[in-house]
């Protein structure tokens, strides 16, 4: 069974929000649109987005990690948002595992949003219906698009390619490999939702130096008749938070 999903690599996400507005622009004029904005030019502008990028700080100065954290519907394999829906508007597609809202059935009762632990459903307050990430179902299955473009808008936009897209049930897919190799994890596993989307953790590269790296026989100073100064011991590296 196919389960399409996003895998988000926190190791390279710089928090640029490209995925946020590319999602908005694709979807507002797509089959999930139009996505309303209120007070667009007034105080407290607000509107419907399917994807948000948040920022967290981990640790205290100077051992601080700044984590940019994109979040959209995780297309759970046990989506609590689906059974609670009274109309059947909230459903999970059998063919690809995408959790969708049927905008013509939805009565806007918000129960599905209450049932989702992740805060990724947003009621469109103009249309009065619930909306959420569609995994760009209207792009990825559009045979009229060239194969390269049959990917979610946010994935194509992302400058750091922090967003991978594919079938996590296909062990050979890039997403499955990334989850396996890089310890991809699920959010709030305790909620029992089995999110399809996963996150890849920060990884840290360090350079190992040895004292004798610093004193070499063929030292350029000796060419000029000078002797290298003493090599000093090394300080500690920053405490690593994640």
């Amino acid at each position: 069974m196919t389960q399409l999903a996003l895998v988000i690599d926190l190791n390279v996400c710089v928090g640029c929000h490209a995925c946020v507005t590319s999602c908005k622009e694709w979807n507002t004029s797509g089959s999930a649109g139009a996505l309303a904005d209120f007070n667009p030019y007034d105080a407290d502008p607000t509107g419907t987005f399917f994807n948000r990028v948040q920022t967290f700080e981990v640790g205290t100065y100077p051992d601080t990690q700044t984590v940019h954290f994109p979040k959209s519907c995780l297309h759970c394999e046990e989506p609590p948002c689906v059974p609670v829906c009274p109309t059947g508007a909230s459903y999970k597609r059998a063919e690809d595992g995408i959790v969708l809202v049927d905008y013509d059935k939805c009565i806007g009762c918000k129960t599905c949003a209450w049932a989702c632990p992740y805060g990724v459903r947003e009621q469109d307050e103009k249309r009065g219906v619930m909306t959420k990430c569609t995994l760009c179902v209207d792009r990825i299955h559009d045979a009229a698009l060239p194969a390269r473009d049959r990917q979610p808008a946010c994935v194509l936009a992302c400058p750091t390619s922090a967003r991978l897209f594919g079938d996590i049930h296909d062990p050979a897919s890039a997403v499955a490999v990334a989850i396996r190799d890089q310890a991809g994890y699920a959010l709030m596993p305790e909620q029992g939702t089995r999110p399809a989307n996963r996150y890849l953790p920060r990884r840290r590269t360090a350079i190992a130096l040895h004292a004798d790296d610093l004193v070499r026989a063929e030292n350029p100073l000796r060419v000029d008749g000078a002797e290298p100064g003493p090599a000093f011991p090394h300080g500690a590296t920053e405490d690593f938070a994640t």
Binding site: C16, V20, E25, F38, D104, K105, R148, I207
Partner: protein
Amino acid sequence: MPSSPVHDPLAPPAPGAVTETRTTTCYMCACRCGIRVHLRDGEVRYIDGNPDHPLNKGVICAKGSAGIMKQYSPARITRPLLRKPGSERGAGEFVETTWDEAFALLEARLAKIRATDPKRFALFTGRDQMQALTGLFARQFGTPNYAAHGGFCSVNMAAGMIYTIGGSFWEFGGPDLGRAKLFLMLGTAEDHHSNPLKAEISKFKRHGGRFVAINPVRTGYAAIADEWVPIRPGTDGALLLALIHELIALGLYDREFLARYTNAGQLVNQDAASDEFGMMARNAGGDPINPLRPHNFLWWDRLTGRAVADHAEGADPALLGAFALPDGTPVAPAFALLAQRVKAHTPEWAEGITGIPAATIRRLAHELGVTARDQGIELPIAWTDWWGKKHDTVTGNPVAFHAMRGLAAHSNGFQAARALAILMSLLGTIDRPGGFRHRAPYPRAIPPNARPPRGPQAVQPDTPLDGAPLGWPESPDDLFVDAQGEPVRIDKGFSWEHPLSAHGLMHNAITNAWRGDPYPLDTLVLFMANMAWNSSMNTTAVRRMLADKRDDGEYRIPFLVVCDAFESETTAFADLVLPDTTYLERHDAMSLLDRPISEFEGPADSVRVPVVPPTGDCKPFQEVLIELASRLRLPAFVNADGSRKYRDYPDFVVRYETAPGSGIGFLAGWRGKDGERSLRGEPNPRQWEMYAQNNCVFQHHLPRSLQYMRNWNRDYLLWAQQMGLRRDFDPIVIHVYSEILQRFRLAAQGRRPGKQPPDRLRARVDTYFDPLPFWYEPLEGQATDRALYPLAAVTQRPMAMYHSWDSQNPWLRQIHAHNYLMVNPRTAQAAGIMDGAWLWVESRWGKVRGMCRYTEAVEPGTVWTWNGIGKASGAWRLAPDANESRKGFLLNHLISEELPGADGGAPMSNSDPITGQAAWYDVRVRIYPAAPGEPEESWPQFAPAAAVPGAAAKRPSWLAYFAGKGVRE
């Protein structure tokens, strides 16, 4: 549960709509990514990155993806506007006019100025990308008073490195992260090359590279660094000197590279009594190679123990030691002077200045040195160096750097950038794989050949300016000063106050014009610059100056023309507003004559073509300039008989040549009659079409043997000369030691014939024109009581906003509706300020009120905020109570454009004393809580301006954009 959807998610959302895709170039920022604009029934449905574009390779950013909301912004200005008769400047009251009237008015006014004193016309441009045209217009008009944003942007980065290695970061070169193993990024939050940089950093990390970020703040790029090294603002120079110290002390430098490709081995005159002191010793009988820039230097050949011509066959220069020439002149290799300079600059010394533990500095130096030395890259590419030596391989040391405004925007940034370039050279990483790589037209001569005019006589009525308005002084004689050594330009560029101000000092233009110092202006044209807000320092005062009158009731700046596409804070001050098109509506050329989009592999340039028709009466500023230039009969724009030469801007771009028959024009691609030639060739009437057919971009791939070591790569240098990228054919040897700076110092010491600084500036020039990099406390810090103003305040660019111009964008403003002052909790608590509370930030120059946000990701002595989020009430067609103006604040109110002169002398620009780079990030502040009864609102506030004629009658209270059906509201 029933799962047959009523709503078919795969059904076309707008059945029967006509859709089409066009390619052009984004201008939601200066990065200039290739985009595809998808239209549905003529409306923009989707903008995505063009996968076939070499720059962004398909990706796009938050701003680029929000272009739709810019195109349909209610803040668009759609008619030419005249200040309402009788209304005050700044009130923003306008009446509509026509283009005919606007042109007639401008023509009459400018013709008169041109016939009398052309310098009373000034043209300053902000974040534009058409300096090739605006600069040409100014020069042809005959005014020296032209500059673009460079002076207040990052000229320190440009000049500091160009005067050292003939290239720089910014738009001129960058880190080769594809092959680097260790990457040190200093003071960069977003950068110009922002999408490609993001892509590169990500790939670099995925390939196991180690990324170290040196920045007082950890956000954005620094967030994903393997190590964050917090540093006190304005102290990178000290860090870099300490790194150099450690590399030299341990011998962790690339001696071979230094000896052959830099002036490290060149002998410097050490005879303190001689007027040639500190200058390179010359080899009288040697080949000067280029009479304009003689290269007859001397080495001390360590093998034979005598002075020889530099690069003499079989010789190897001594880098250390002190020697005497046969005539007894004491000399020392430049490198020895550098080693001596950094001797005292130990990591412990730097720790006290930077706040970075000495052990960390040492470790970083060791990582740099060992990685560079032990992880060498060898590519099987044969090439020949300028002196004829054949090399079988191109080698590289995989240590890359990047730096931007964190280094540049301090008054000690030129020397810091030079220190960085020297550190990179020590590691042997210039234009080599894994290190720094140039982007065409760089590398250029040190300094590049364009020179500013040399004196008042360059400005003559009805005559083009003698020299480009901007250039690169090589010696004091290139300064643009009068007989007393005083400035000719309104911004005092190229004067003794800021001799190497290669990009001008736009940040002082308004203040100087207001004061009439050195003289008053008549007409000031601002293009794409929000000078009444985020691009001036001391904003409140500058706004007052713009509207200030003389005793006789005439405005001090008599006529102000603003060309903008939107209702900014500045348009409210204009006497005449020229409504520009958006980037989706016009032709543009991102030319090699300006700052192109070249990649490491070779030159590239690009264009914009209109994808939607202009809105209202909007007219591209390019067309305005061509029209005015034709009406004023500026020589380059008319035929011999004075008749108009170019139909319009596209016609100009196709047919204009830098010199008759030069074959060099604005665009390098598809030249020649049928578009068969590149870079140089006859004009091709179908050039635009060919660009449009080719994703609006032209890229020339150099053969691999011409892609590296271009400062000294014989075949590249020959090719560059043939293609007109360079005037001369001489090697570009790195200036570890800067003879050019020494020339200015000697002049200041009165030891050099030619132009002399006025006495009041002698000590200043003598101090800062040090031929070797050094660190000094930024000027504002030198003159500020640290006990009173203990904190440094800096800004950063948010990735999802461009300066001031995106607050009109409802998608982007939801992400950044207002800004906070970001403060380390320890610092805030010491000042008694709670998270989220209102606080005052105060400098010597002013204060602002805003809200505090705690952050653990900032060095405790620094506070920061996002750049340009705070807005003046009512600007950008936002409601007067919009978050941007009621909660957001602008740090610029705290930054002075001038510092008081020493000993009560006349004030001088708050800028780098060498380049005139605006010292944005030098400001020192203190913070304290807002008093309990104070309004919970940012301060200062300004009276909102009214909507201009032609603007939409009301602000929509909601919108739901769906392409093909219009903005629904």
